[in-house]
C-alpha cells in the first residue's frame, strides 16, 4: 500500500503507522466482543441451569394445549408448539397482506389528492395525513378495538348490507364462495387469459416500435382478464355459489368471519401506514422537474402519454424505495397485535407458548429470525428493483 510505504520511508514509528493502528484497533474490538460474548453466554448458561429452564428446540414437538382464536390451517389444542409457530406466522402474513393492500390503495389516493388542484381535496388529504401520522399506532389499534368495535351492536342487532354482509361486535361476516367441480374450467380460462395478455402486449409493443401505431393495450387486457373467466363461468353453468352467514342462536354461523381483532389491527395498520405512503407518493411526483412535463407537452405528447412515459417512470424511482420500507414497517408493526390479542406470531408464540414453555431465549430468537428473514428478503427485492429502475447513464 502507498501510505504504508510512505510511512516506512519517512521513519514513522510502527505504532504511529495508520495501517498498523487500524489493525490493532480492529483486533481490540474483536477481543472486546469475544469477551463480552463469553461473559454473557457464561452467565446465561449458569442462570439457565440454576433456574432449571430447558434448552434446545425439543419444545417445538410437544403439545401446546391451548386453542387459537383464528387459524388459516387446521389447528386444535393437541397440536404442537411448532404448529403454533406456523399458525402465528400465517396470521402475521395474513394481516400484513391485508394491511399492505389497503394502505397502498389509501396512500395512493391520498398522495395524489395532496397534489390535487381542487382545494377541498388537497386540504382534506393534508388533514388526513397530519392527523393519523401523529398518533402512535398502538393507540390507534387500541382505540379501534376498545372503543369503535366494542361499541358495535350485538349479533342480533347486526348492521347488515344487502342481507349478506353482517357487521357486529363479534366481527364482520362476509359470504364465502363455494367452488364446485366445474370451477376448474374458470381457473384454466383465467390462466389462458394471462398468457394471451402477455403475448398481446409484446405484439402491441413490437407493432408500436415498427409502425408507431398505438394499441389500447390496457383496456383490451382488462377486458380479456375479466371477460374470459366470466364467459366460461356462465357457459359452464355457474359452478360456484355463495354461502351467506346466518344468525343461529346467539351468533352467526357459516360464511367467512373476520374477527374484531383482525379488523382493528388491519384497519389501524392500513390507515397509519397509508399516511406515510401518501407522503412518499406526493414527494415522488413533486420530485419530477416541471421542465420534464413542459418538454413532453412541447413535443406534442398527449396528457396520458406524458403521465405514463415521462412522469411516472421518474416518479416511481423516488416512490418505490420508501414505500417498500413502509411495507416492512407495517409487517413489524403487526406485532403490536399482542396488545389486543390477535393471534399472530408475537401474541401466540412469543406470548402464550413462551409462558407455557418458559424457554424465552429460543422463542424470542426464533421470532426475531422470522422478522429478520422477512426484512432481508424485502431489502433484496428492493435492491433488485432499484437496480432495474436506475437511470442508465452512459
Amino acid at each position: 500500500m502507498n501510505k504504508h510505504k510512505r510511512a516506512k520511508q519517512s521513519g514513522v514509528a510502527f505504532y504511529n503507522n495508520p495501517d498498523n493502528r487500524a489493525i490493532i484497533y480492529q483486533i481490540l474490538a474483536l477481543v472486546l466482543i469475544f469477551f463480552l460474548a463469553y461473559f454473557i453466554l457464561n452467565n446465561m448458561f449458569t442462570n439457565i441451569e440454576k433456574r432449571g429452564i430447558n434448552t434446545g428446540f425439543d419444545f417445538l414437538g410437544s403439545e401446546a394445549g391451548f386453542g387459537i382464536l383464528q387459524s388459516l390451517i387446521q389447528y386444535d389444542e393437541s397440536n404442537t408448539h411448532g404448529k403454533v409457530f406456523i399458525v402465528g406466522l400465517l396470521n402475521t402474513i395474513l394481516v400484513s397482506v391485508i394491511g399492505i393492500i389497503f394502505a397502498t390503495i389509501i396512500g395512493l389516493l391520498v398522495g395524489i389528492g395532496r397534489l390535487s388542484k381542487n382545494f377541498m381535496v388537497a386540504k382534506l388529504s393534508l388533514i388526513y395525513v397530519e392527523t393519523f401520522r401523529n398518533i402512535p399506532i398502538l393507540l390507534q389499534i387500541l382505540f379501534w378495538y376498545n372503543v369503535v368495535l366494542a361499541s358495535l351492536p350485538s349479533p342480533r342487532q347486526s348492521i347488515s348490507f344487502f342481507d349478506s354482509i353482517f357487521f357486529n361486535n363479534r366481527g364482520l361476516y362476509i359470504p364465502k364462495p363455494i367452488l364446485e367441480s366445474g370451477f376448474t374450467a374458470v381457473i384454466i380460462a383465467f390462466i389462458i387469459a394471462i398468457f394471451s395478455v402477455i403475448y398481446l402486449s409484446k405484439w402491441a409493443k413490437n407493432r408500436h416500435d415498427k409502425t408507431g401505431q398505438e394499441f389500447p393495450i390496457f383496456f383490451v387486457s382488462l377486458a380479456i382478464l375479466i371477460g374470459a373467466p366470466l364467459l366460461v363461468f356462465f357457459i359452464s353453468g355457474n359452478p360456484a355459489s355463495l354461502e351467506i352467514a346466518a344468525l343461529k342462536g346467539f351468533n352467526f354461523k357459516g360464511g367467512w368471519t373476520l374477527i374484531p381483532e383482525l379488523l382493528a389491527l388491519a384497519f389501524a395498520l392500513s390507515i397509519y401506514t397509508a399516511t406515510y405512503i401518501a407522503e412518499a407518493v406526493r414527494s415522488g411526483i413533486e420530485a419530477v422537474p416541471k421542465g420534464q412535463k413542459e418538454a413532453a407537452s412541447a413535443l406534442g405528447l398527449k396528457d396520458h402519454v406524458i403521465l405514463k412515459k415521462v412522469v411516472l417512470p421518474q416518479a416511481l424511482r423516488v416512490i418505490i424505495p420508501p414505500v417498500i420500507n413502509q411495507y416492512l414497517n407495517l409487517i413489524k408493526n403487526s406485532s403490536l397485535a399482542t396488545a389486543i390479542g390477535y393471534p399472530e406470531l408475537v401474541t401466540i408464540f412469543s406470548g402464550t407458548s413462551l409462558n407455557q414453555v418458559g424457554q424465552a431465549i429460543e422463542i424470542i430468537l426464533m421470532t426475531m429470525a422470522v422478522y429478520l428473514t422477512l426484512s432481508i428478503l424485502i431489502s433484496i427485492l428492493m435492491n433488485y428493483i432499484n437496480s432495474r429502475m436506475q437511470i442508465k447513464e452512459r
Partner: protein, 358 residues
C-alpha cells in the same frame, strides 16, 4: 370631422379575481372536480358537526358523575383523573419535584443560547443528574421507586433518556459503518441491520425477559431500566442510519481538506465533518425522535404504566367504569399536539436550509 365621445371605463370583468373567481378555479373547475368538492363537503358534514357536538357542545365539563345528563363526552372523568394521567402513582405530596425538574429544564433551554461553551457543557451534563435526583430521590429527598413513576411523566422520561442516550451510540455506529476498517464496519452493519430488521416489541421482550439472564445472579435490573436499555439500543440503530445519511452528503473535499490539515481522525470528525453532517441531519433526526416518542407507548406491553396504559388503569376504578373513550381521546390529543409541533419544527428547519428556487 369625427365626433369622439368619451366612453365610460368598463367594469372590471367579473370572475377573474375575488372570491367568486377563487371558488370557480379551486372548487368547481370541471365536472369531476365539482363532484369531488361536493363529496369532500359531505365528508366534512358527516364528521365535523357530530364530533364538535360530542367534544364541546354536548360535553359535560363540570359537576359530579351522578349529574351527567348530556350525551357527549364526559370530560369530568379526565379532570378527576388528571393527576394520574400526568404523574401515574407518583406520591401526590411530591409532585413539586418533577415540576421543579421541568422548570429547571425550561430555564436551561432559555439560558442555553446565551452562555459560553463551558457553561453549555455544564448544563448538558448537570441536567440529567439533577432531574434524576429530583424524580427518584436521594441526597435527603425521599426515594420514589420506579414502579410509582407513570403517566405522561414516565412517557417523557423514557423518550428523553432514549433520545439522549442513543445519540452518542448512534453517532459511533454511523462512523463505524463509514470506517475503512473492515471488521469495525462489518460489526456496525450487523448491529444496525439486525436492530432495524426486528420489531421494537421483540427487543423489549428480549430486554425484559432475556437480559437478566445475561448477568450474574444478584445483579438485578429495574424493570424500567431494562425497558430503557431496549429502547436506547433500538433508537441508536435508527440514529446511526440518519447520521450516515448526513455523513454521505458531505462532499469528499471536506474529508480530504481535513486530512490535508493533518488533523487526526477524531479531530477531523469532531471539528469538520460531524458539525456539518449533524446540521443537515437535523430534520431527519427530529423525525426519528418523533417516531421514538410514538414508540414509547410500547412499554405498556411489558407492564410499565405510561400515559396510554393509564387509560385502562383509570378505568379499573369501580367508581369510574366505562370512560375509555374519553381517556383515549385525551391521550390522543396529547400525543398529537406533541408530535405535530415537533414535525412543524423539523419542517421549519428544513425550509431554512432549503435555499433552492422553487
Amino acid at each position: 370631422m369625427a365626433i369622439y365621445e368619451k366612453l365610460e371605463a368598463r367594469p372590471a370583468p367579473l370572475g377573474t379575481r375575488g372570491i367568486i373567481h377563487w371558488i370557480k378555479e379551486n372548487l368547481f373547475p370541471s365536472i369531476l372536480s365539482s363532484v369531488l368538492t361536493i363529496i369532500s363537503f359531505y365528508i366534512l358534514y358527516i364528521i365535523v358537526p357530530p364530533l364538535l357536538d360530542w367534544m364541546i357542545f354536548d360535553a359535560t365539563w363540570s359537576g359530579t358523575k351522578e349529574e351527567i345528563t348530556k350525551e357527549g363526552a364526559r370530560w369530568i372523568f379526565i379532570f378527576e383523573k388528571f393527576n394520574q394521567f400526568i404523574y401515574g402513582f407518583y406520591p401526590e405530596e411530591l409532585y413539586w419535584r418533577p415540576n421543579l425538574a421541568l422548570f429547571i429544564f425550561a430555564v436551561y433551554v432559555i439560558a442555553f443560547k446565551r452562555v459560553n461553551v463551558k457553561l453549555k457543557a455544564f448544563i448538558i451534563i448537570s441536567f440529567p443528574i439533577i432531574a434524576f435526583i429530583l424524580v427518584s430521590g436521594g441526597f435527603g429527598l425521599e426515594h420514589v421507586e420506579t414502579e410509582k413513576w407513570g403517566g405522561l411523566l414516565l412517557t417523557i422520561i423514557v423518550a428523553s433518556v432514549g433520545i439522549v442516550a442513543s445519540f452518542p451510540i448512534g453517532i459511533l455506529f454511523a462512523l463505524g459503518r463509514q470506517s475503512n476498517m473492515p471488521i469495525i464496519r462489518t460489526l456496525s452493519i450487523i448491529y444496525i441491520e439486525f436492530i432495524r430488521g426486528v420489531p421494537l416489541i421483540t427487543l423489549l421482550f428480549m430486554a425484559s425477559v432475556i437480559l437478566p439472564l445475561f448477568f450474574p445472579e444478584g445483579m438485578d435490573f429495574d424493570k424500567l431500566l431494562r425497558a430503557l436499555i431496549g429502547i436506547t439500543l433500538f433508537q441508536a440503530a435508527y440514529i446511526a442510519e440518519v447520521v450516515r445519511g448526513g455523513l454521505q452528503a458531505i462532499p469528499k473535499g471536506q474529508y480530504e481538506a481535513a486530512d490535508a490539515l493533518g488533523l487526526t481522525y477524531w479531530k477531523s470528525m469532531g471539528l469538520i465533518i460531524l458539525p456539518q453532517a449533524l446540521k443537515i441531519s437535523i430534520p431527519n433526526l427530529v423525525g426519528s425522535f418523533i417516531s421514538l416518542f410514538k414508540d414509547t407507548t410500547l412499554i405498556l406491553i411489558i407492564g410499565l404504566f405510561d400515559i396510554l396504559a393509564m387509560v385502562t388503569l383509570t378505568n379499573n376504578d369501580t367508581n369510574w367504569l366505562g370512560f375509555e373513550t374519553e381517556g383515549y381521546v385525551f391521550v390522543t390529543m396529547i400525543y398529537w399536539i406533541i408530535c405535530f409541533s415537533m414535525s412543524r419544527y423539523a419542517k421549519s428547519i428544513e425550509d431554512k436550509f432549503n435555499t433552492d428556487h422553487k
